[in-house]
């Protein structure tokens, strides 16, 4: 399967270069991490890949297909899903309904069929709800299915957001600080779950502050500082890299 590649991508905001000539690859079935100090341009990278921002230079490819300049919803429809640093859910809707929204990419029925309620849309709805329940079971949160999402703890809301992104059945999942606000135990459980998803073939790009989490789970790690790539490799290699130690780990 194709990989998601950034080829010397840059993004300038006025005079500031948030991302400068960054090249990286997210491969299917591989847990890839992107780390760096605050303001290093990590979230900008996710926004560039998902099409919310257009690169000032360079190219973003999905296999042979050029994603540069595509509309965000087109990129999502091609199978690139993401979560956000701040949780964004439909607070008054149930957890299950929040997850089902993520199935949009797999809707086959027409606007007309949906407007007048042809049987096909109820079949679709049932299958989407079944998939959402399966996700809930996998995350061991089945009992929360009918709870309004706004009433959940912050950590649980993050999980709902991840499940919604997974309801897209994406080929690539970009996670923007998924374990922020979780304790060590919750974070580890999520990590194990994400790893099992990667084993099934998803290409995962994890953006994280939590060093221990990244070092434990990511197979390839990219380290950025001021929008530039300063190191890449396995957790071991990166944590021994002198530039990384200076820029990020301190001392």
């Amino acid at each position: 399967m194709a990989s998601l590649c950034l080829e010397s991508v840059s993004k300038r905001f006025g005079g500031i270069e948030a991302v400068a000539g960054l090249s990286l690859a997210v491969e299917p079935g591989r847990f890839t991490g992107l780390i760096g100090p605050n303001g290093a341009g990590k979230t900008t990278v996710v926004n560039l890949i998902s099409g919310l921002m257009t690169p000032s230079g360079g190219r973003i490819r999905l296999g042979e297909r050029d994603l540069t300049g595509e509309a965000p919803h087109q990129i999502a429809r091609l199978g690139v899903s993401r979560t956000f640093q701040t949780v964004r859910l439909l607070r008054e809707a149930s957890v299950l309904d929040n997850i089902v929204v993520g199935s949009h990419r797999h809707e086959r029925s027409s606007l007309f069929a949906n407007s007048i309620g042809l049987p096909v849309i109820w079949r679709e709805r049932r299958s989407f709800r079944d998939s959402a329940r399966a996700l809930l079971a996998r995350f061991e949160l089945t009992e929360l299915a009918e709870v309004p999402a706004g009433g959940l703890s912050y950590g649980h809301q993050r999980l709902v957001e991840i499940m919604r992104a997974l309801a897209m059945k994406p080929d690539f999942l970009l996670l923007d600080e998924p374990v922020a606000g979780m304790n060590e135990v919750e974070a580890r459980r999520l990590g194990v779950l994400l790893r099992s998803l990667v084993k099934e073939g998803i290409g995962m790009l994890l953006i994280e502050h939590n060093m221990r989490f990244v070092m434990e789970f990511c197979e390839t790690i990219y380290v950025v500082d001021s929008g530039r790539l300063i190191a890449e490799g396995s957790a071991d290699a990166v944590s021994r890299d002198a530039t990384v130690i200076r820029a990020y780990l301190g001392g």
Partner: protein
Amino acid sequence: MVEFVLTYRPLFDLICVYTILAFSQYAALRAGLFSLATPGFASIGGYAGAIVLKETHLGPILGALAAALCGVAAGLFLSLPLARLRGAFQSIATIGFVQIMVSLTLYAQPITGGALGFNAIPKVATTGPLVLVVIAIAALLAVINRSGIGRAFDAIRQDYTVARSLGISVSRYFRYAFALSGAIGALGGCLLAYNTYSIQPDVFGFPMLVSVIAAVILGGRSMVAGPIVGTVFLIVLPELIRPLADERLLLQGLLLIVVIIYLPQGIVDSLVHRWKLRRASTVARAEQGERAHGVPLP
């Protein structure tokens, strides 16, 4: 009972017509579309329906259908520039559309009768047909809410960015919402014309805009019952407190302020939301209780 119904029949008809107009406003807000174009659509539908009924032999049903189609066309036309705008910009542009419709119908005297209005329209929309239309639209909206379109609307309303990141084309669904709001609004305007013998340009002006938006905010923006409850409240309450009937606008304003403070999601949505939260916490507590007693969960 019969006497009661007869006495309050005009009021009931009015509630039906305004519920339909509120549905038009609701269809827009439900999609996260800040359109206030409903009175403009109603104006198009009102005059189109009245003209078809009086000047042709097509009859009221085809007249109403023609009105709704004109509403769809107007909605799609508006969506060309407006589906790309967001939030307050949509509101301002659609208020402009309402003003333009008031002026157009005022100046197009040979067709619309100008300020004197379009008069002597046969009263074909009696209580029966009105109730049927309200039920039909409510059913249609309920289906749409539960369909993929409703899910897309939910996502857009909560956050444009999230919707796009899930593969939803925001402008496509805005176009749809404009067309839907246009069709319902025009149908409402047409039935207003078919019910009240006469329409004038300023019927479809700012006061109507305020009433329909107030009905939806008061009743609730997410469930279909919202606009119905809101409209009933706005029309019946001043009648119940007769001495205050003259201060209808004042009362509406006060009611809105109170509801926005205490039930910010509207009467229906707030109550349902509270009920769901309570049920969820009862379930959770029951499960915790079972766990504490060592009983395995089903």
